[in-house]
Symmetry: C2
């Protein structure tokens, strides 16, 4: 029997889930829910689309609901509401607010006897897992996370809000010297500026004052002021040709010591290089949807994270097959 | 209350466990067991040493026994025998025989109501975990494992058995071009020869025929014949100075595709660079000993592998602390 998946919200991430499920023979998407007019939404593979309001009618028709809304305003409301009715997986990524999100979702899932997996993706998600594994194995050590090269949606949006900007894309880039030092097993103390640079490609409106736009970007507090930022003004054609993708990735590195006098150094590195951030995130969500279905079938209800899920639960293979194939 | 650890077997790995436990405040080693004369074994930090035969007297004094013998002849006998009495962790690494080892250990652990974790370390172990995670997330893709640069004990031993060889060390080295191709997201079909080279440092006995030794090495079936092998004859002094360490490491890379027509490529890479293979392996064993104690306290008996253990169980931190710190 297939695991019946619902997709709640259809943007880049929802589309990614739609496509990822096709790569998993033990699953199918039975419904997409949208707050837009369902009759006007056509998905990449023509899935049935319903109004978000109708979701309660699907309680017996969906095994796991994958939430594909945003962390700022959608998920804090939607995940608890849907966890009351469905097993759910979300990609809530506001790190500082995870404890509060966890509590709200856990209360709903315990009450509803459902399994809810939150903050699934790559950061939080696979990067978090690698931080945990590495720190547990090498308790005496130092962690480093580098992001990029990749597109930061939030920073791109911040640039687009500047007067005179028609379009913009911002890439976060690890500083090569810092990354290489850590990979060599050094444990430098790195400031924000020493870890990442920011590169911006901006299409200005005709006649706009590009010097003023550049100044507003590089001095923007929180977003750019603490970084070395480069701004390139380019034409719309070049922008569409070279900057339409949503690549991302990064590095989680732990440098740890062992030995009688900590004389031995070990470097554990996890590195992602992703052509499509939303499609990869969706692929992680789908693997964890399989785990959510299994946890729920065992009566393991409540809110959980990637830390709580036995790795075997992500795979369609049996324990015996896994030991034979992957161990 | 501390987790009380026993160490069964005291070679490089046992010593590594002794040192790793010192880095974990919630654990202590209460006894080391040896088949040698216990009165003549002094451990790195002067732990109490007992005869292996006396181990049954420690049933109530040890929470988890970490087995530090070899996979060829020790563990197939010792792990089932000790799993009947203790929660155990071993590093059984004969990949082809894992299913049979699993069955033997599982029968003993189920009968003895103990928790047994087998094949813990980095390969099998952390590399296996990364193969499983990556394949579950990107089901359409290709896996690559590269080992090294590092010392292969088995290959070094094979050289030392050649007539006229006084000492030898063999390094396994990934072929840079192959590794780089995979990292770029290509999915080449690679032969054994295309993936790794072997480099040997040999101290010959005085007057030995080095041309004959070199020929015997590079043509040795299974060990060297399928590889491009380089042999260096060096003096004993240089050997002791430059080749006394036991470094190792390697790469697990998965190249996977997503999208409507699999138009997007993703590369997941896990990379270890280890100054001391036995000390790192020991550090993994110790983290999983913590998990074994917790699984046993929950009544989760029987044989398990890294695939079955929720990542959170490796850490001394609570779920709440983990979500706040690592997610």
């Amino acid at each position: 029997m297939s695991i019946r998946i619902g997709i709640f919200g259809y943007g880049n991430l929802g589309r990614g889930v739609e496509l990822a499920v096709r790569q998993n023979a033990d699953m199918e998407v039975v419904a997409v829910f949208t707050r837009r007019d369902p009759s006007r939404l056509k998905t990449a593979t023509n899935l049935p689309v319903y109004a978000a309001d109708a979701v309660a009618d699907f309680r017996d028709k969906i095994d796991v609901m994958i939430l594909c809304g945003g962390s700022a305003t959608d998920l804090p409301v939607q995940t608890p509401a849907l966890a009351a009715m469905f097993n759910v997986v979300d990609s809530f990524d506001t790190h500082a607010k995870i404890p509060e999100h966890y509590d709200a979702v856990n209360a709903a899932a315990v009450e509803g006897k459902t399994t809810a997996l939150i903050s699934v993706g790559w950061d939080p998600g696979m990067f978090s897992l690698n931080r945990l594994y590495a720190a547990s194995i090498l308790p005496s050590g130092q962690d480093y996370t580098f992001w990029g090269k990749g597109v930061s949606q939030g920073h791109s949006d911040a640039i687009r809000r500047i007067d005179g900007v028609k379009n913009a894309k911002q890439y976060t880039i690890p500083v090569p010297a810092a990354l290489e030092a850590v990979r060599r097993g050094e444990t430098p103390a790195l400031t924000t500026r020493e870890k990442h640079t920011r590169e911006c490609f901006v299409v200005a409106e005709e006649g706009a004052d590009t010097a003023r736009i550049e100044r507003e970007i590089v001095t923007m507090p929180h977003y750019f002021a603490d970084y070395d930022t480069t701004v390139h003004f380019i034409g719309e054609e070049e922008f569409l040709r070279d900057h339409s993708g949503i690549p991302h990735g990064g590095f989680v590195v732990r440098v740890g010591k062992t030995g009688l006098d900590e004389e031995h150094t070990h470097v554990i590195e996890y590195h992602l290089e992703l052509d499509s951030n939303p499609e990869f995130t969706a692929s992680v969500l789908v693997a964890y949807a399989r785990a959510a279905a299994r946890l729920a079938s065992e009566g393991q209800y409540g809110c959980k994270t990637v830390f709580d899920v036995p790795p075997a639960y992500l795979s369609p293979l049996s324990g015996e097959e896994l030991r034979r194939t992957f161990l």
